[in-house]
Amino acid sequence: MIDRLGFIVTCLESFEYVQITEPFKKIQDSISGKIIITESGIKLEFETVILPQYPMQSHEVETIRFVNSSLISYNHVNADGSICIHTLHNPDLKSKLFYDLEGLRRWIRKYYINKNTDKHYEHLIVNEGSSLITNVSFLFTEVNHLFKDGEFGFFQYSFLARGKEGEKDSDTFLVNGFMLNKTISASSWSSYYKNRESDTGIFLFLNNAPVKRERFLIENWNDLNNIVKQNFMSFLYTIKKYQFGKFLHDKYIPLLIGYNIPENEIHWQCALIDIHNFPSEGKDLGSSKGWIGQFKNLQIVWASTKNCSYKYYFGRGKLSDNITDKKIIIIGIGAIGSIVACTLVRGGCKSIALADYDIKLPENVCRSEYLFNTGIKSKVIDLSINLVQISPFVEVLPYRDLMDAIKYFINNRYLREDIRRRIEEYDLIIDCTADNDVAYILDLLSISCDIISMSIANNGKALFCSTKPELYKWLIAISREFNKENDEMYEPTGCWSPTFRASYNDISTLVQFAVKHINLIMEEGKKLRPFKIIVDQKEGLNINLCQF
């Protein structure tokens, strides 16, 4: 029986455009050798390494490497000179080898011969600080400022969290804003993040990225000598001399270096200045010509940076702008309201107010978005924290007494108008209280903004939404369909209102369905009308939406 090494060699020899130039051999568990690929009259040699997992992928990366470090300046070549190819899954070794070699030939045609560039921007290759004891990452977002070439100054950053990458600790920091002409141009994080205690770093903006071989970020401080101006070197000298502020991990000053990338965006990289081994120094020009600042011949320690702006944070999927740009208030944040709130925030909503008088108890956790470990707590405070933990772009306002105050004053004709005006500050009201008084009041106030009143019935097998106009009438009309006798009630011990039995899965399935429907209606700019969602379990699971 032919062994794996022999089989691979036989396969390679069967492809006429492949020539083995260094015999393949087994090194530990991998198989490696050299091949020349002929494509469109071009011959390129690659050191080829086939890992033990092949033809399977490892961490979504192919387990065959075609390496030629002289190709490093071409697109889609990794820092180690390996060509970046992605081919389809195939469990058959020979087939997979064929497709991977075809992928390599495609790369030669597209990027080596035709020198194509892709539409989407490919970030620079950064040799991030493997020398760091604890990894450092900076998350940045947009600021309302147009940076100019050579602009420099201080920026503010705050510690977000310590995590782990493998065995190594990993600290994440947020770029909170840039100090420009004695004012701060704040990052577009929500106030919860923007207002955190911050430390100071320095920034430098360059029109063009500091690169070597086109796609690789410089690795030595002295590579900056021909790029930065002396006014920045003087600034650095001041920093070096006075060493004020608190240092990152007690030894680093972060230097953000920004540059333009396509689509009017900027990207920031972060070099860590070691205060014990400062990378710049003064150089005497002699003959009384004075001093200039220059960078030393010293390896740069790059921290990791991530563009975490709204566009990228929600780049993989979000709700319609017609919802996310709305100022929303959710009244009632029990099972339904908390799921609605989290769904909206994960969908990119930017302004959410929460109104509920209630406290979260342990028994609320099983079918809502609350967590056990925060203990007994006011629901609006507890959920507000959950929401800002989900999105750094949402402003959350908790109101514990809002509905109490509204009910207290609603019968006062003079104050009613004030209440109406206050509620009309919102674009969308989502009433999840299942409190008929609330629906009645919202209707009574003739509020101009959109209102949705959402409730669950039939043991979590139905959800219905009432909307304007005639919110309260619709509520009466639709809820008449549901029979109280059908509900199996859960009676907690003590004097307490019984509640319905339904799991998180029952409720969240319907709430997600409802939010999806509402999103679609708003995206299409249609009129939101009352609807019900009914679960039919007679023949398998069917969920039906009926609009009124």
């Binding site: 099972a335 008929n436 669950i456 009438k473 009309a477 008449r480 029979n483 109280k484």
Partner: protein, 322 residues
């Protein structure tokens, strides 16, 4: 037991009859007469005889949202401009009724909403001033120019007045509604019940014209529900493109009183309404409710001398959770 749709619709029509609110009707007539006399006294030879122009005059009224439209035709020389006419009538009515009613400028009318009387009844009358086109022409052609209050937006053509023959509008609808009582009149009144109950932003005049258009365009037969359904289907299918010329002036397009968005919404209202009723007869009650104040004899179950609003009748049953 499933609702008998036709019995229910007949009950809806019965419970919404104007005569069920005879006392309120009499109060409206009395107040209207008072206003008529006051206007005739104020403007003397400058006006022709004012007349009812709303749904009461057209025989298509329902009793749940009750008001009178009262047309006041002025002679050509009474005012230099339509705006002056509108302002003068407004100022006269405001001066006369400021202590007993809310007097406000509306799009083409002056709204009078009298404060509730001892029975908590509210009389609402809209006064619509209009001016003949040329001197002494009104008696020959019944045509009037109405001022359009700019605060409520210009007409689509950008004009600040509407020219129409209000008498022709009334007669056209009244004649058809009276002659075709079981189709046109019943269906218009049912659609008005739906409109009022669901607070829809559609003019009654639009409903009247599109119902007549549906009756003239399709074969309407069968029981009341079948006839109503045909009209609902017509609206669903045609409202986005239908032309509804004003019988008083064919160059006025009444269909334009709804925006494209409102037409699409109305079409979908009809679509879902039909679907839900076909799916479950009981849903007819959602869209076409009986006037609970005047239930039909078959629906009166228990005497309730305290008029307590019971659960399941006026308030939502406790079947929902949040």
């Amino acid at each position: 037991m499933s609702t008998d749709i036709n019995n229910h619709l007949n009950c809806v029509l019965e419970s919404h009859k104007i005569k069920k609110e005879q006392v309120l009707l009499d109060k409206h007539i009395s107040k209207r007469n008072e206003i008529k006399e006051a206007l005739e006294e104020k403007y003397g030879a400058n006006i022709y005889t004012p007349f009812n122009s709303g749904s009461y005059a057209k025989n298509t009224a329902v009793n749940t949202k009750f008001d009178f439209d009262f047309m006041v035709p002025f002679k050509r020389d009474a005012f230099d401009t339509l705006e002056n006419m509108f302002i003068d009538v407004f100022e006269f009515l405001e001066d006369k009724y400021k202590d007993s009613a809310i007097v406000k400028k509306q799009k083409v009318s002056i709204g009078l909403e009298f404060y509730p009387d001892n029975d908590s009844d509210v009389v609402k009358i809209d006064i619509v001033p209009g001016r003949e086109l040329n001197k002494d022409q009104y008696e020959k052609d019944n045509k009037l120019n109405l001022y359009v209050n700019q605060a409520f937006g210009k007409l689509s053509a950008g004009s600040d007045y509407i020219r129409s023959n209000i008498q022709a509008q009334i007669n056209n609808i009244k004649d058809r509604a009276t002659k075709e009582k079981d189709t046109i009149r019943s269906i218009i009144r049912l659609l008005k019940v739906w409109k009022i109950n669901r607070n829809q932003p559609i003019k009654s005049f639009f409903i009247e014209l599109i119902t007549i258009k549906a009756v003239d365009s399709t074969e309407i037969s069968g029981d009341l529900w079948e006839r109503l359904k045909k009209v609902l289907e017509f609206i669903r299918d045609e409202v986005k493109t239908v032309a509804l010329p004003d019988p008083g002036n064919s160059s006025n397009e009444v269909a334009d009183t709804l925006t494209d968005y409102e037409k699409v919404s109305l079409s979908e209202d009809m679509r879902y309404l039909i679907e839900r009723i076909e799916e479950n007869n009981d849903n007819i009650k959602i869209y076409f409710p009986v006037n609970e104040k005047h239930p039909c004899s078959s629906e009166i179950k228990n005497e309730n001398k305290y008029e307590i609003k019971k659960e399941g009748v006026f308030v939502p049953p406790t079947v929902r959770f949040g």
